[in-house]
Symmetry: D2
Amino acid sequence: MAKKVNVALIGYKFMGKAHSNAFRQAPVFFDLDVEPVMKVLVGRDEAGVKAAAEKLGWESYATDYREVVNRPDIDLVDIVTGNTSHAEIAIAAAKAGKHVFCEKPLAMTVGEAREMTQVAEKAGVKHCVNFNYRKLPSIQLAKRLIDEGAIGRIFHWRSVYLQDWIVDPEFPLVWRLNKAEAGSGALGDLAAHSIDLAHFLVGDITAVTGHMETFIKERPVATSMSGLVATGSEERAPVTVDDGTIFLARFANGAIGTFEATRFAPGHRNGNMFEINGSEGSIRFNVERLNELEFYSRRDPAHAQGFRTISVTEGGEHRWINAWWPAGHIIGWEHSFTHQVVDLLEAIAQDKPATPDFRDGLRVQLVLDAVERSAQSGQWVSIEKE
Amino acid sequence: MAKKVNVALIGYKFMGKAHSNAFRQAPVFFDLDVEPVMKVLVGRDEAGVKAAAEKLGWESYATDYREVVNRPDIDLVDIVTGNTSHAEIAIAAAKAGKHVFCEKPLAMTVGEAREMTQVAEKAGVKHCVNFNYRKLPSIQLAKRLIDEGAIGRIFHWRSVYLQDWIVDPEFPLVWRLNKAEAGSGALGDLAAHSIDLAHFLVGDITAVTGHMETFIKERPVATSMSGLVATGSEERAPVTVDDGTIFLARFANGAIGTFEATRFAPGHRNGNMFEINGSEGSIRFNVERLNELEFYSRRDPAHAQGFRTISVTEGGEHRWINAWWPAGHIIGWEHSFTHQVVDLLEAIAQDKPATPDFRDGLRVQLVLDAVERSAQSGQWVSIEKE
Amino acid sequence: MAKKVNVALIGYKFMGKAHSNAFRQAPVFFDLDVEPVMKVLVGRDEAGVKAAAEKLGWESYATDYREVVNRPDIDLVDIVTGNTSHAEIAIAAAKAGKHVFCEKPLAMTVGEAREMTQVAEKAGVKHCVNFNYRKLPSIQLAKRLIDEGAIGRIFHWRSVYLQDWIVDPEFPLVWRLNKAEAGSGALGDLAAHSIDLAHFLVGDITAVTGHMETFIKERPVATSMSGLVATGSEERAPVTVDDGTIFLARFANGAIGTFEATRFAPGHRNGNMFEINGSEGSIRFNVERLNELEFYSRRDPAHAQGFRTISVTEGGEHRWINAWWPAGHIIGWEHSFTHQVVDLLEAIAQDKPATPDFRDGLRVQLVLDAVERSAQSGQWVSIEKE
Amino acid sequence: MAKKVNVALIGYKFMGKAHSNAFRQAPVFFDLDVEPVMKVLVGRDEAGVKAAAEKLGWESYATDYREVVNRPDIDLVDIVTGNTSHAEIAIAAAKAGKHVFCEKPLAMTVGEAREMTQVAEKAGVKHCVNFNYRKLPSIQLAKRLIDEGAIGRIFHWRSVYLQDWIVDPEFPLVWRLNKAEAGSGALGDLAAHSIDLAHFLVGDITAVTGHMETFIKERPVATSMSGLVATGSEERAPVTVDDGTIFLARFANGAIGTFEATRFAPGHRNGNMFEINGSEGSIRFNVERLNELEFYSRRDPAHAQGFRTISVTEGGEHRWINAWWPAGHIIGWEHSFTHQVVDLLEAIAQDKPATPDFRDGLRVQLVLDAVERSAQSGQWVSIEKE
């Protein structure tokens, strides 16, 4: 019988649902070396967490994360709370010797992220930040093509992360639009994903210059929120985060890049897209068609070159797909979470580093911070060392 | 506490995995009026069914379906066995007063399908055939647009179901290429889906004329098969089913249609596609991009008309989506099974007809049969009444 | 100085404009071995043809084609009149020893087409029918890929030619909807192009079975028409041609095919599309994106296969493109006519056969005729020998 | 008879061919109030210009532009020489009282562009700079949608102009890669077009910050060039222009934008693309599919919103299309030049301003200059007033 890994999940809203699904599905679809046990779901509101635990398949629930992270029967602490409490919980868990899995962005500040990384590394536990898009078969294929040399020397990175859910000026001021709770707006929520993908696929960013914009300055105060559906009151308050952010970047390997993240792009529900151009070829991706990867090769015969749309659903060829369905039977967004959990459990089972880890989360945080500072100063800002 | 519906699943290969997932996911993501209980998994090979039951989350396993369908604690029998045993099991289950859910194609022959329908209707149980593509939010949207009049009078149906997994002549003679086990090839496996969608969206077909082709006449005899990966021996045997089938159709409402189903279309892994043209607009769909529906409206301003690509992922707007993720966070192929199970459980809870039911399965069988006869006679064949 | 080829163009409406453009542009963009001289434009209405000759760049005009085709200074007779007079004029011209270029469809009947072919072949003149889509660089690339073996053994042809300009039932009964003038509707106007492309790319068709439909049975009588804009009266008369036609085909090489041509497909202005699937790969094309060809190769690495969109605009690689603009600077629909004229003039200069010739036109006519007969009999009809 | 406008074209290479075509086609396809006469082609190499004049349809040729611009029979001087001589010729022509049409970029420096503008305005002649993409029906439709309010308040501009013709490091150092002749690289050649489109569709840019990169620092010296095909020697010399440039922009109306221009994007032959997002909808465009415009409207019914692909080929609806072919019969890149000439001749005939004029050219030059300065200083640079 496989060794058990007892999991505590802290938080149970949207991301709690996605993480729970991942832990529930991983052992059914994959042959794992360890068996995750959905031990306890943690939340401050007892009625809420009790109902969620039952619905989402957790053995029990609790209301005090401090107690839970110190329980001897817990092996892995998964953090999907608001951004403001990531650091506190992760540090407590790591100090208690637990493996830690944390939603992105890793922290509110570089300082927090650095401390989390240092504590986790010192504790010798597995630590992992959920930049889930890395765990799509299509992104893994992009990485493979780059590693194989099919793209060659990279010249350009070009990413946009486009959403449109707050274009209506009457959409209320939910927590994601409040700097104290969210840290930043489109930057930390969306560009963070693009930065991590750029790190993964292109390499280190050395300097950035950016601009952050809040198109709608005031909004109705939110009175309730369920998912992305919120109700507003007659009172208005200022929006304190960026609606959209754009920045330029230089990479250590000589590539140059553009980044954009916005919630003001009508027609794009979750348009996390990028393109990479190199001396041998190009790659394009859009998370709204996450089962596909577009690839152009300069090595194709000269009369027959063109971007090809690869259906990244071949069991024998594309990572993780074998566990699911036959070719052409597409997977969904949540499968990236399942793959992340599979990877993390494998890291625990084989005692090897999890990826992306807190240091990767810190690297993203350093770029987010530099973008904010460049937006204030109007100048290029170099990225600090981790 | 919701009333329980105890389920027995007969069969545990590829489709067993997909059905198990649906029963496991339905109560987590949806608020159901009844609670499905994954009671027993049934298969003839004890070792195999035991391992599968454990992996897929069934409470127990059994090796004799006859016994199981007569157990008083079983409410719903789900049949995912080979096509040859659908009729036998479904009839036994219905006669035992169980609700019956059956994979497509419903039966090997019109006779079988008719008997299954009559027995199930007489028994007064819920009966449902798994033409799962009906249960995609995008197909539901297509139906809604048609019902709203946005397409107007329908002129054309145009469907292709394109796969490419047996183009290699060395791919072995697996059961799907053997008439005795599969009934037919691309026709029953693939065109059956297109016919059901045409019935659902356009209406009754009145006559067809078709052609069936076997491009590769002999193949290596299969020695083993796991999923779609098979190993062949040096011995060869004739392929007894169609590699590809094409047919023309006339509909009761005056529309005309073309159908094609093939496993010989390189570049298409699971290209279940159709287009409908009507007096007010058009609709296009491809299951490889199942979260999207293309829609053209002649009612748009004359200078701004064009096919629009709808992301069918809006919780408040598109059916079933609310249960999953925010807009633009796509769902996968298997979600159609979950939706089918949700629908079926709702039909049981509310004592209303399930859809598509055995009569719908019979309607498809009648068309499949007519296509085969027209391919033999070279003449148009009228579709019999159910 | 290059030898001159004096041209007479019979007809001056829509197609007259397109042919005139081709003769005007060919010598400017291409280095020709002979120089076309736009000698005389011929039409029955003197005022109309005089104005057109001036506008379109013809040296002179005339009103009697019989006289013109017998003028000793005329080398090439180009026929763009209504379909009913193609045969008469082409036969007169060929008998007068003139090279003949004729719009498609070649004739009203198989009999006419056969006589035209026999007369032209006997006269030893160059004869050419304007299936202009053959002369797109993208179609030439498709042919090259097939000839290179990149598609392998062909299994499937699948073509649709979709338009939508008569969906409105109040659109008047213009000549194209009148069997006496047009011969047939969507069949001869649209499917003729698809059949010629199938002949060019796949090979001979051996048998067909089809269905022809007239969705709108009566329309207002047309009182005037300019281009595709027509005015209708209060009087109504029956539509005597097909609004849409569908048919199945078998090819001599074992491939099977589907064809559809309709003017009732909202959203498609001129959607001449096809796909070919073979043992090594596939090809897709749409004339509304005529600078592109989609190509899938089973020879690509297994993890990186997908339909690629080739921009068929590379001067050094793609036929005729060198004469125009740099890569990515697309050409238009009318360029296919220029290329056809270049080819024809080259055939004259080098005394080699023009393509497609009248025999190709006859081959199309034989299929059109067989489709009509199959639609009447409800049975497969074999294609006669030329 | 229409009044004649006698044209002198200075320069006869690639752009000479495109401009000649425009003057040749304009009076054939459009009903003009004035008649352009292709009077004289001017070039320094007598043999070359003589041959070109004959080929391209000019009545005569000359070798000294100074003489020509002072000829009393010349009404319009069209300048397609290298960028270094635009100012000198345009100023001479305007001072001689001739209307002036000039290729983009207008000048080598802001100073030149400002002087050209002042001289031309003072002379009271028509002056026009050939930002030809404005003259595509699709771009006119974009403008119309914006003017109608269909996009609402604009939030984002996002443009890339991607080419790939110099990715090979052995491609020689042609004039476009030499700062002394070209002024800049991708910036002036490509981004200039994007900037003009942004001005036309969004409005004034107020500040920019950018980065310019030369990926390949040295190349073989070019020994000959024909079109884009060049031969290199063994000698190498430094590339003195940007291979790729990226910049951020703020607009006067509060929108923010990103721009990228590069010749290092494999797979993109001439990918001049942009997207605009506003409070009511979005627009997307790609010049490689210049007959299409993508449009998203937030005003569509909530269940049926999506980017629609408009075929901008409707005679009655889309500008200039009526002159060409029926809907769906696409036009090519060169047609934009014909439309520009039609517009310019109409401005002359009706004595109204031509668009875009030299002041528009100056506005672009001011942005190009600011981008270069920001790339040097690493700071945002405000755009000067014209």
